[in-house]
Amino acid sequence: MINAVNSKLDAELEGRTGQKVRACYQCKKCSAGCPVAFAMDLLPHEVMKMISYGQRERLLASSTIWLCASCETCTTRCPNEIDIAGVMDGLRHIAIESGVEPSEREVGMMHRSFLGGIKLLGRTNEPFLIGGYKAMTGNLFDDMGLGAVMFFKRKIKILPRTVKNRRAVRRVFKRTRKMEV
């Protein structure tokens, strides 16, 4: 498959994250220790190589950038001190700002409901998060048994907890927001 080459991707990521991806010598240590590797379509070391090759579209459309759990195992172990987790963040940010929908639809929706909750209330309230997420994805019946257990274990509070100065939090979102939440 021939893909468009974007020779600026490497520099764009360096500008955002300060990371020099070209220092990677493909030892694969990052991929060897990645706990989510089994579910990824591109392994972390492949992501690094594809950045050098300017494979912008394939990277932004990958599931890997959304499945990376930011555990930072790769970052701590890279012999070339590349913050791979930071690069994954950078790729996600580019995807969002370029309007590329996350290939992992549910992951994107989870972030939206999570941040939407903070924007509205200033604090995270799990029932709102879970409810909002379910409404967005339409997977209303997943985890229903769990919801009942959580309710009886008093994990679910009826009244939301909020910040008093909601305007201050809205201001933060207004002045930073790149993703619609």
């Binding site: 555990c71 970052t75 997420y133 993703m179």
Partner: protein, 294 residues
Amino acid sequence: MTDLTFSYFPGCSQSGSAEEFGLSTEAVCRALGIELAELPDWNCCGASSAHMTDDLLSIALPGRNLAIAREEGKDMLTVCAMCYSRMKIAQARILGDEAVAREVEEVVGADPRFRGEVRHLLDVLVNDVAFPEIRKWLRLPLAGLRAVPYYGCLLVRPPEVCCCDSVENPTDLDRLLALLGVDVRPWSFKTDCCGGSLSLSRTDIVEKMVNKLLTRAEEAGANCVVTACPMCAANLEMRQKPGKLTFKVLHKLPVLYFTELLGLAMGLSGVEEWMKSHIIDPMPLMRETKLLSH
């Protein structure tokens, strides 16, 4: 002794899904003379969702809290590993780069250059209160508990901003638990990720990650997992019970916060209440080991 007065950042989970963590933290601190004054009108740190989607937002949300902490003038104490990590990373970025500091100041509308320390309770217990002092308060040796200490990601990585004694093989929690009389089981998965940030969205992946950890914990001979992270705890507890209307339980291994066990060993009241909030009921284990009777 060092000053043990803090602005306390409780974090959202500690009055929701990790209520028992919040309650046990407050009780333990009160008993050990760690003074907590809740940070006024704090907001959510933004957790993974903020840094995964927007760099500035991920610094500005903790930045507002740092600005409040600056006003309060005390060091900040956190218990949630996620809040701790986000707060420390934001502080390092703000103090390390004046351009970032100015940008956050403009977004937040207050000076976020908090120069006090952001601490995690585990760090304060191990390094400030210290074991000789804690030992004086112990009333009940926790014999019968065989625990694997589970640090997860955010207490140890990235090591530049975190507090534990080692990034690959930390022992702070191990040593605290041993002090309480817990049989600390050696295992290689102390700092392996549980997939918490994908718990809702890719439950299928997370169930595999969690069940691997629990299998390894059982192989190590543990009858409980002890953690300092509410995301890890919620994830390890919730994903033991596979979702989707089924109740088939694979492991049923209790997951406890280190503060709950410290409170139990100190003979504090309220322990039974904390234990009731767990999805995987720890009471059978507590009765079996005769640490709690009802």
